[in-house]
Symmetry: C2
Subunit: 386 residues, 2 copies
C-alpha cells in the first residue's frame, strides 16, 4: 500500500465512522465532490451543521488508535475496503435503495462481480430444509452461480457449507463488523468462506451483532444476487424481509413450497401468494436467471458464459466431470423403469447414504423423478450417459 492509498483509506475510514452520516449521506457528499474523498471530508468538516455534536467531535478529533487498528486490519493479506468509487465495486449495488458506500471484504473481492443467487431461510430450519438448501446450492453452483447468503444458523449455513464442499464459490454478507463472527458456532465456516470465497460487511470493524443491522445486511444480500431463493421461513422470518427487498430491487424471488402443516413453509407460501416463483427444481432458477446475468453484460456475463458450457450438459455440484465415476454409474443404472433404493445399492455398489444425497441432487436438477414408494427413474426425454 503506498502513501497515497493510505491517506485515501484513512479519509474513507473517518467518513465511514462518522456517526449519523450513513451510506446515503456519504454517497451524496462524494457525488458533490466529484468522487474525491478528501474534498468530501474537507467539506464535511467545514460544514458539519447537518450532523450532531458526536459527529462534529469525531470529525474534529478522530480516534487515532481506532483508525490505526482499521488500517492495520486492512493491511493484512486478503482484507480490503471496496469503495463505491472503485472500478470493482459491484455495480448491481449502485441501483438498490440505500446502497452501501463501501464494503469491507475478507477473501476474494472479485466474487462480488460473479452472477450470484442468494439462498436464505429460517435459522431454526428443519433437517429437510437444510438438505434442500445444500442441494440447491450445489446445483446452482454447478450451473455457474456463486451462492450468497447471510452466515446465519440454519438455511444460510447449510447453503454456504454445501457450496464450499462442492469446491464452488460462496459469499457471506454479515451484519457485524468483518472481524466479528455471529453466530459463534460459524467461526470455522467463516474461516473457510474467507479462504475460498468472500466474507462481506458494510459495518466498521468491531461492530457487534445488533438486531437492526440484520435487515440492513439483508438488502445487500438481495442486492448482490440476481435472485433470492427462500427455502424455509416462518411468517416472522427475516428471510421474508430479504425477499421483499429483492422484489423491491427488481430481483427475482423464488420460494420452495411445503406441507401446509410445516410452519416453516408458511413464509414461503406467503411469498408465493405475493408473486414469488414457486420452484421445485434448481433448473427452474437457472432458466430464469441465466438471461438476467447475460443482460447485465460485462463482467457478470463473462463470468457466467465462462462457466456455462460446463453447466449446460453438466451434473450438479462439482460432480460434472466425466471422470466422476459415481454419478455416471448411478445414471447408467437408472432407466425409465422405477428402481428402488435397494435396487440401486445393489446395482451401483454405492451406500444408501451416498445414493440418497446424489439422488436428491439429480432430482433437484430435474434429471430424475422420485415416485411413490421411494422409487426413482430418469425423467422422460433424458438418457443415461453412454
Amino acid at each position: 500500500m503506498d502513501m497515497d492509498d493510505k491517506d485515501g483509506l484513512r479519509a474513507w475510514l473517518i467518513a465511514l465512522r462518522t456517526p449519523g452520516l450513513g451510506p446515503g449521506g456519504l454517497r451524496e457528499r462524494l457525488d458533490a465532490a466529484g468522487g474525491d474523498i478528501h474534498v468530501a471530508l474537507a467539506r464535511l468538516r467545514a460544514h458539519p451543521a447537518a450532523l450532531g455534536e458526536t459527529a462534529r467531535g469525531w470529525l474534529r478529533r478522530p480516534d487515532q488508535d481506532r483508525l490505526a487498528a482499521d488500517l492495520a486490519w486492512l493491511a493484512q493479506p486478503g482484507h480490503a475496503l471496496l469503495r463505491c468509487t472503485d472500478a470493482d465495486f459491484p455495480p448491481q449495488l449502485d441501483n438498490i435503495p440505500q446502497p452501501p458506500a463501501a464494503l469491507f471484504v475478507v477473501g476474494d473481492a472479485s466474487l462480488l462481480l460473479y452472477p450470484q443467487v442468494a439462498i436464505v431461510g429460517a435459522r431454526a430450519a428443519s433437517a429437510g430444509g437444510k438438505a434442500h438448501a445444500g442441494a440447491f446450492a450445489r446445483a446452482l453452483a454447478g450451473a455457474g452461480f456463486a451462492i450468497t447468503s447471510g452466515l446465519a444458523d440454519g438455511i444460510d449455513g447449510a447453503a454456504h457449507a454445501a457450496t464450499l464442499e462442492a469446491g464452488a464459490k460462496t459469499v457471506a454478507v454479515v451484519g457485524t463488523g468483518p472481524d466479528r463472527i455471529y453466530p459463534r458456532k460459524h467461526h470455522e465456516l467463516a474461516r473457510r468462506i474467507a479462504a475460498h470465497g468472500a466474507l462481506v460487511s458494510e459495518f466498521s470493524l468491531g461492530t457487534a451483532a445488533r438486531a437492526d443491522h440484520f435487515p440492513r445486511r439483508n438488502r445487500i444480500i438481495a442486492g448482490l444476487a440476481l435472485g433470492t431463493l427462500v427455502i424455509e421461513a416462518g411468517l416472522r422470518s427475516g428471510s421474508l424481509i430479504t425477499a421483499r427487498l429483492a422484489a423491491e430491487q427488481g430481483r427475482e424471488v423464488f420460494a420452495l413450497p411445503g406441507s401446509i402443516h410445516n410452519p416453516l413453509a408458511r413464509g414461503c407460501h406467503r411469498l408465493i401468494r405475493d408473486g414469488a416463483r414457486l420452484v421445485e427444481h434448481a433448473a427452474e432458477i437457472t432458466e430464469v436467471l441465466a438471461p438476467c446475468a447475460r443482460s447485465l453484460g460485462g463482467e457478470l456475463e463473462a463470468r457466467l458464459d465462462g462457466r456455462d458450457g460446463r453447466a449446460e450438459g453438466g451434473l450438479p455440484g462439482g460432480a460434472d466431470h466425466p471422470a466422476d465415476p459415481d454419478y455416471r454409474r448411478l445414471l447408467g443404472e437408472l432407466g425409465h423403469e422405477p428402481a428402488t433404493m435397494d435396487d440401486l445399492v445393489q446395482r451401483t455398489g454405492l451406500s444408501a447414504a451416498a445414493l440418497s444425497s446424489m439422488l436428491l441432487m439429480l432430482e433437484l436438477d430435474a434429471r430424475i423423478e422420485r415416485l411413490p414408494g421411494n422409487c426413482y427413474q430418469l425423467l422422460p426425454g433424458l438418457h443415461a450417459p453412454g
Copy 2:
C-alpha cells in the same frame, strides 16, 4: 307425472339419445324453437340432414323399450331430469362453454342451486391428501357450501364421505349414466349421496364408464361450483383438466402446496404457477367465494346467507353448535402457549385420535396453529370460548 309431462319427457329423451346431436346441437335447436322440445324434435325429424344415418334411423324409429325403461327410471321417487328449459336448471351452467342440455339427478336436485365448492384430486391420493380432502370438505360445508366432486377413488371419495359424515350436502357428478356407479367400490357411497345429497349425470341411462366421458364430466363439476380446490394431483391428473376448465369458466381455482418430493404435489404446484390461489386454510377459500356467491344473487345468495350467520362464528363440520361439548372443551383448554398432544389428552379427556382430527379441522379453519414438535396453540387474536 301427468300425461303432458310424460310426452315432454319422452321427446327430451329421444332428443338426448339422438346420436351425434350433442348438448350444443340440442340447445341450438331448442333456442330456435323458443324452448319447445316438441317443435325442436319435429324440426329435427323434418331436417335431419346435418346428422348421420344412425341419427336419422333413431329419429325415424326410436327404441321404444329403451324409452320405456328411461321413463320408468324417471318415475321412481328421487329421480329427475333437469332440463335447461326448466326454471330450476342451475343457471351457473348456462354460461360455461358447451353447457349440458339436461342433467339426470338422483336425490335432491335443489342442491344444484346451492353455492358449491368443488374438491377434486388424485385417484391414487396419499393418506394425508385424503385427510386434507375430508378436513377441507368439513370446514367448507360448515361455512355453508355444498361440496361437489366426481365420485372417483381417492380425493373425490374422501371429500364426499367427509361431507356426508358431517351431515352436510354433497353433489357427485358422474361420468357414467346415473344408474351406473364407477368405481364399483363407491356403490355404498353413491347410495348415501343419493339419499342425502345429489348424484348428477348428463349421460343417458346405461352409459358405461368411458375415458373420454370424464373430461366432459369435469366441465360440469367446474361449472356447478363457484371455485375448485385441487388437493393432490400428479402432472397428468384429470384434476388439472377440471381446474383448467374452472379457470376458463371464470371460476376461482385453489390448490394445496406440498413437499417438492411428493409427486402428487406437482400438479398443484403447476396450477399455482399458472395462477391458482395457494391455500393453507379453508377460511382463505370462504373469504374469496362468499362475495362471489352473493354477487350471483337470487337463490345462491339466499342459500349462503341462510347459513352464513351460523358459519361465521361457528366451528367447522357440523360441530358448530354451542352444545357440541368436545370442541368447546378443546378450545377452552388451548391457549396462546403451545400445548402438546399429551397435554391436550390429559386436559380434555379425549382420545389422541379424536383430538388429532379435531385439531386438523381447527387448523384448517385458521383457529389454531400447529407448531414444530407437534404443539398447538390458539392463533393470535382468537380467544377460547367463555
